[in-house]
């Protein structure tokens, strides 16, 4: 039997603030003790720079760092740890692909399809690329329920399509896209697909081989790990053909003033000293997550969402934003008479942490005719009591603001 309270006890911040109801997990999750310990343990026992020393500490640091790469590969069911590039997060991973693969493969007139659900991180790097190379960005529309308009998607696909950028789960309204199916369709036209998995990895079991994606990116901190670290997974034949994007140490094979040759992937994409301790914390988070009953967690988070959505439908003046059949543990809402910021302030006074605003998805909010929503997003340590408390607080707050 899954016990969210027992899980919550593993998170020092939550244990320290028993009254806190933390429902901003789509922004970042809290970190279990195991992750904090892993970073501290590294600094206390194995701190050295990686990949360049032959002394025993350097060897220990390099081993720990490269084991972390294997943990990420294992977590995604990648064929090899050489398919994993460490980045500062999902945002940097998308920028890497746009700069390196994008610049080498796209030219004027080529098309990039992006779903209307995308976070700015999966829009702006492509716009910057399009400005440089003359490619064209085409948004894929949504249906009224917030799911992707598959008919529109298919109508946009053509031999001009070079890249399709898709979020696995929408950070703003929770819609989950049928990624495997969409990838399959895109591949018929020879297009590559980049999946933004930032909101998916903490909640779903990810198998990049089964998805048959070309690029999958995510951030550690939304999956119980440290900030400042994340990963790009790319199919090895694509990754090995990509030119470097940042120059420096670590990414070279040989340097002279007349000519420099580059290291193989993934080192080619990791210039400079990496975030070593964070990487080790990242792996500890993924190992921690994989040691949990992930099916039970997904079921628990699903039930939390249904409980909240049902409760909201019984409160006057609240409209659920995003009714897609498949959703991640994200609930967005708008109010008839109140501004989301005001509601969030009253919730905050009761130690309920939610997010309001456009969720870095302004094109999506514009397509919904909204300037902002209030979003509650869940993690494994949230409880049914959290939802009851939120519902009661929402109900009282809306009465007060009526």
């Amino acid at each position: 039997m899954f016990d969210a309270y027992a899980l919550r006890a593993q998170f020092p911040l939550l244990a320290r603030t028993p009254a806190l109801i933390y429902l901003d997990n789509a922004a970042t999750t809290q970190k279990p003790l195991q992750v904090l310990d892993a970073e501290r343990h590294f600094y206390e026992t194995a701190n050295a720079n990686v990949h360049r020393g032959s002394h025993r500490l350097a060897v220990a640091a390099t081993d720990a760092f490269e084991n972390a790469r294997s943990s990420v590969a294992h977590f995604l069911n990648a064929r090899s740890s050489n398919e994993i590039v460490f980045t500062r997060g999902a945002t940097e991973a998308i920028n890497l692909v746009a700069h390196s693969w994008g610049a080498a493969n796209l030219q004027a007139g080529d098309e990039i399809l992006l779903s209307t659900l995308e976070h700015h991180a999966n829009i702006v790097p492509w716009q910057m690329l399009a400005t440089r190379c003359g490619a064209i960005i085409k948004p894929i529309q949504l249906l009224r329920d917030g799911s992707l308009d598959l008919e529109h998607f298919h109508s946009l696909l053509s031999n001009k399509t070079k890249l399709v950028g898709l979020t696995h789960i929408s950070n703003a309204i929770g819609s989950e896209l049928p990624i495997a199916e969409l990838i399959n369709s895109a591949h018929h036209y020879g297009a590559k697909v980049l999946v933004d998995g930032a909101q998916a990895v903490a909640h779903k079991i990810i198998d990049v081989q089964a998805l048959n994606a070309d690029f999958y990116v995510f951030s550690s901190h939304k999956a119980y790990g440290p900030t400042g670290i994340g990963a790009l997974w790319a199919r090895s034949e694509i990754l090995s053909s990509m030119p470097p994007w940042q120059g420096g140490g670590e990414m070279i094979e040989r340097v002279s003033f007349s000519q420099t040759s580059y290291a193989e992937a993934p080192a080619r994409f990791e210039a400079g000293t990496p975030a070593i301790a964070q990487t080790i914390g990242f792996a500890a988070a993924l190992d921690w997550l994989q040691a949990q009953d992930r099916v039970a967690i997904a079921q628990h988070e699903h039930l939390l969402r249904l409980q909240l959505e049902l409760g909201l439908s019984q409160i006057e003046g609240i409209r659920l934003i995003g009714n897609a059949l498949q959703k991640g543990p994200v609930v967005s809402m708008a109010f008839t008479h109140a501004h989301p910021y005001d509601v969030a302030q009253f919730l905050d006074a009761r130690e309920i942490a939610v997010r309001v605003g456009n969720h870095c998805a302004q094109p999506l909010l514009a397509s919904l005719g909204l300037s902002g929503t209030l979003r509650a997003s869940f993690a494994a340590y949230n409880t049914h009591n959290d939802i009851d408390t939120l519902l009661a607080a929402l109900s009282e707050t809306l009465e007060l603001l009526a």
């Binding site: 109140a338 501004h339 989301p340 910021y341 005001d342 969030a344 302030q345 009253f346 905050d348 006074a349 009761r350 309001v356 605003g357 456009n358 300037s371 902002g372 007060l400 603001l401």
Partner: protein, 134 residues
């Protein structure tokens, strides 16, 4: 409502919830800006809510008018207007608005997190003094 009255009311409001309620009440005292003033030039962008501020001068005294989508932000605007309305440049420069808000127990609205834009509003008033001097 004048500054002293606001100070007295806020002192009587208990906790965050009480202060939030008071700000919502104060919001009713803020006359709305005409729609024509709700433009980009007057817009102050917070990540979570938007406010509009117009600044004019009458015989070297500042004339402020403001509006927001959020009632809590409107309440904060009532405070700022009570503090600044009709003041001269020298008076504005001599007044430490952030310290005043902190003394009223409203520190949390001064965060660098771009939630409500109170800091941006104070900044815009200071900018206006600078421009008026030239």
């Amino acid at each position: 409502m004048n500054k002293a009255e606001i100070e007295r009311k806020l002192a009587g409001a208990h906790g965050w919830e009480g202060k939030n309620r008071l700000l919502v009440q104060l919001a009713r005292d803020l006359p709305p800006l005409p729609t024509s003033e709700l433009n980009d030039a007057n817009r102050i962008v917070g990540c979570e809510s938007t406010a509009w501020l117009t600044i004019g001068w009458q015989q070297a005294q500042i004339q402020l008018a403001a509006d927001s989508e959020s009632r809590i932000v409107k309440g904060l605007l009532v405070l700022l207007i009570a503090a600044y309305q009709g003041k001269t440049r020298t008076e504005i420069q001599a007044f430490d608005c952030e310290a005043w808000l902190i003394s009223l127990g409203l520190t949390r609205f001064l965060s660098a997190s771009r939630g409500n834009g109170v800091k941006a509003i104070i900044g815009k008033i200071y900018d206006a003094i600078g421009e008026a001097q030239h």
